[in-house]
Symmetry: none
Subunit: 207 residues, 4 copies
C-alpha cells in the first residue's frame, strides 16, 4: 500500500519531488482512514517527519492536497480499468473486467482510490465542484461499457449502470480482507444481472 518504501535506489540523493510524494501518500492514507475533516495538517506532517508549516512549501492548502489525492487516485484507477477492459473482447467480459479492476483498486490496491469513494468533498469549498467533475469523468467509462451490451428492448441502460456502480462502491461498507476477492464479487454481481432471476412466467414489467 502506498509506495512508501521506494527502495531509494542509488546514493542518498534527495530525489526531485520526493517529499511532495511522501506527503501525498500520507494524506491519502489518513484521509481514507479517518476522513478529511478529522485529519489535521499536523497529522500529515508528523507522518513524514515534518512540521505542519512545512507542508505549505509543497501545497498551498489542505483542500489542494485533497484535490491532488483525488486526481492521482483517479488517474490510477482509470489506468487500471482501461488496461483490464482492453484485454477482453466480448461486451459482457469487458464490463466484468472493468468492474473487477474497479473493485481491486477500491478495496485493495491504493489509499488514493479509496479516498474518492469514502471522502465526501468539503461542502462550501471551491474544490467540491472540481472533485465531482473528476468523478463523473471517470464514470463515463462505464457508460460506454454498458452501452456496448446487447440488451433486450426494455432494459434501462442508465439504471443498469447506476445499480452496478452503486453495488460496487458500497462494498467498502461490508468488504473485509478475508472474504471473496474482487474478481469473485464482480463476477457474481454481473452474473445476477445477466441471468433471469424471476422464474415466474409473466413478464415483470407493468407497474
Amino acid at each position: 500500500m502506498s509506495a512508501s518504501t521506494s527502495t531509494q535506489s542509488a546514493s542518498r540523493a534527495p530525489r526531485q519531488d520526493n517529499r511532495r510524494q511522501q506527503l501525498l501518500d500520507a494524506a491519502a492514507r489518513l484521509f481514507r482512514e479517518r476522513g478529511y475533516h478529522v485529519t489535521s495538517m499536523r497529522d500529515i506532517a508528523r507522518e513524514v517527519g515534518m512540521l505542519s508549516g512545512s507542508i505549505y512549501y509543497h501545497f498551498s492548502s489542505k483542500e489542494e492536497m485533497l484535490l491532488a489525492v483525488y486526481e492521482e487516485g483517479l488517474r490510477h484507477i482509470a489506468e487500471l480499468v482501461d488496461a483490464a477492459v482492453a484485454a477482453r473482447n466480448t461486451p459482457w467480459a469487458r464490463l466484468e473486467a472493468g468492474c473487477t479492476a474497479h473493485l481491486e483498486a477500491l478495496l485493495e490496491l491504493s489509499d488514493y482510490t479509496q479516498v474518492m469513494i469514502r471522502v465526501l468533498p468539503p461542502e462550501g469549498g471551491k474544490v467540491a465542484a472540481r472533485l465531482l467533475d473528476l468523478r463523473d469523468q471517470y464514470e463515463a467509462r462505464f457508460r460506454g461499457l454498458v452501452n456496448a451490451l446487447d440488451l433486450p428492448a426494455g432494459a434501462d441502460r442508465r439504471y443498469l449502470r447506476l445499480l452496478l456502480i452503486g453495488g460496487l462502491n458500497w462494498s467498502h461498507v461490508w468488504y473485509h480482507p478475508g472474504g471473496d476477492p474482487p474478481a469473485v464479487i464482480a463476477h457474481r454481481m454481473i452474473d445476477l444481472l445477466r441471468q433471469r432471476l424471476d422464474r415466474a412466467p409473466n413478464t415483470p414489467s407493468a407497474r
Copy 2:
C-alpha cells in the same frame, strides 16, 4: 419535521421533551447538509435559539446526539419499510415495495434517515461500533426479503442483496429532486434483476 410520534397527550404538560426533539431535528438537518464534523454545537444551538452550553442539559456529548439521530432515523425508516412490505404479498412485490420505501425515506422524507447514509461515523469514537450495529440490524430485513424469493439454483442471494442495497444507497450521489421518483427507480432496478439481460444462448457462468 420528521414524524417522531411524540404521543402528545392532551393535558397540561403537552411537550414532554419539547426542546430535546427540536435539538435533534436541528442536528439531523445540519448533519445531513454539512456533515458531522463540520457542524458545530453552536450551529445546532443557534438553530433552536439556545446557547451551545445548554445542549448539555439534554445530551451528554456531540457523539451522543449523532447516535440519537441514527437511532431515530433507523426507527423511522424501519417502520416505513415494514409497513410497505406488509401491504404486498408476492415475494418480488414485497421486495420492490421495501426498496421503494427505503429510497423514499433516504431521498425525500427525513433528514434523520439521510444522515445514516451520508455521515460516516467518527472513527475513534465508541459509538462507531454501535452505529454499524444499528445499520446491520436494519438491513437484516432485506436479507429476509431476498431469502423469500424463488430464485434459480445458482443465484447468490447474498450478493443479490448487497448489489441491490448498494445500488439504492449510492443514489444519494446522483439523485436530484427533479428526476425519477423513488418508486420508479426501485422498479427499474428490480426489473433489471428479474429479467435475463444476456441475450446470448450460453449460460453466463464459467469464469
Copy 3:
C-alpha cells in the same frame, strides 16, 4: 492611565460587562504602545488573565476590537472638546479651548484617543472605511470652530484647519511628558496664527 483599578466597590460581584471593558482597556493600551499588527490576541488576553480564545466570547474579531476602541476613543475626545468649547464665548477662545482639550486627550488622558492618531487602520479590512468615517465626523467640529472666526478676506479657512489639526496631531511624535503642557502648546500655536509674523510691509500673497 486607563481606569484599570476601578476600586471594585461593594462585594466581589462580577459586574455586568466587567471583562469586556477590561479587555477593551488592555487592547487600547497595547494598540497605542505597539501598534495594531504587532499586538496579538494572546497579548491582550494575557493582560487581563484570560486565554486568547476567551476573548471571542466578547468580541467577534480583532478588527472589531479596534473598531470598539476607536468608537470609545472618539466618544471620549468629542465629549471633552465639546465641553471645553462650550465654556468659552469668543470664537478664538473657543477654538483654543477645543485645541487644548484635543491635545490633552491625545497626549495625556487616555489610551483610547491616542489609538485614533497612532494606529493607521488595517488596509484591506472592511472596518477601514468605518474608521475614517468616524475620524471625519469628529473633525467636523473644527470645521465649525474655524468657520466662526472673523478672518481677513483672503484667508483660506480649509488650510487653516488642516494646518492646525496637523500641527496638533503630529505632536505625538515630539511630545514628551516633562515638556510644556497641552494648554501651553495650543496657546502658542494659535498665537502664531493670530498675529502677523511677516514684519515686511508688502503683503505676502502673489506666488
Copy 4:
C-alpha cells in the same frame, strides 16, 4: 520608480548592485502601500522575481531593509529640499520653497520618502532609535530656516516649526492626487502664518 541616481556607467559591469536596488525599490513601495508589518519578505521577493530566502544575501533582516529605505528616503528628500532652498534668497521664500519640496517628496515623488512618514518604526527593534535620529537630523534644516526669519518679539520659533512640520506631514491623511498641488498647499499654509488673522485690536497674548 523613485529616482535612485544609479549612475549606470557604460561598460560591461553596468549594474553594480542591481538587485539590491530593485529589492529596496520594491520594499519601499510595499512598506508605503501596506505598512511594514503587513508586508512580508515573500511579498518583496516576489516583486523582483526572487525567492524570499534569497533576500538574505543582500540584507541581513527585514528591519535592516526598513532602515535602508529610511536612509535612502532621507538622503533623497534632503537633497531636494536643499536644492529648492538654495534657489531662493529671502528667508520667507526659502522657507516656502523648502516646504514645497518637502511636500512634493512626501506626496508625489517617491515611495522612499513616504515611508518615513507613514511607517511608524517597529517598537522593540534596535533600529527604532536610529530611525528617529535620522528624522531629527533631517528636520534640523527647518530649524535653520525658521531661525532665519525676522519675527516679532514674542513669536515662538520652536512651535512655529512644529506647527508647520506637523501641518505638512499630516497631509498624507487628507491629501488626494486630484487636489491642490504641493506648491499651492505650502503657499497657503505659510500665508496663513505670515499675515495677521485676528482682526480684533487687542493683542492675543495673555493666557
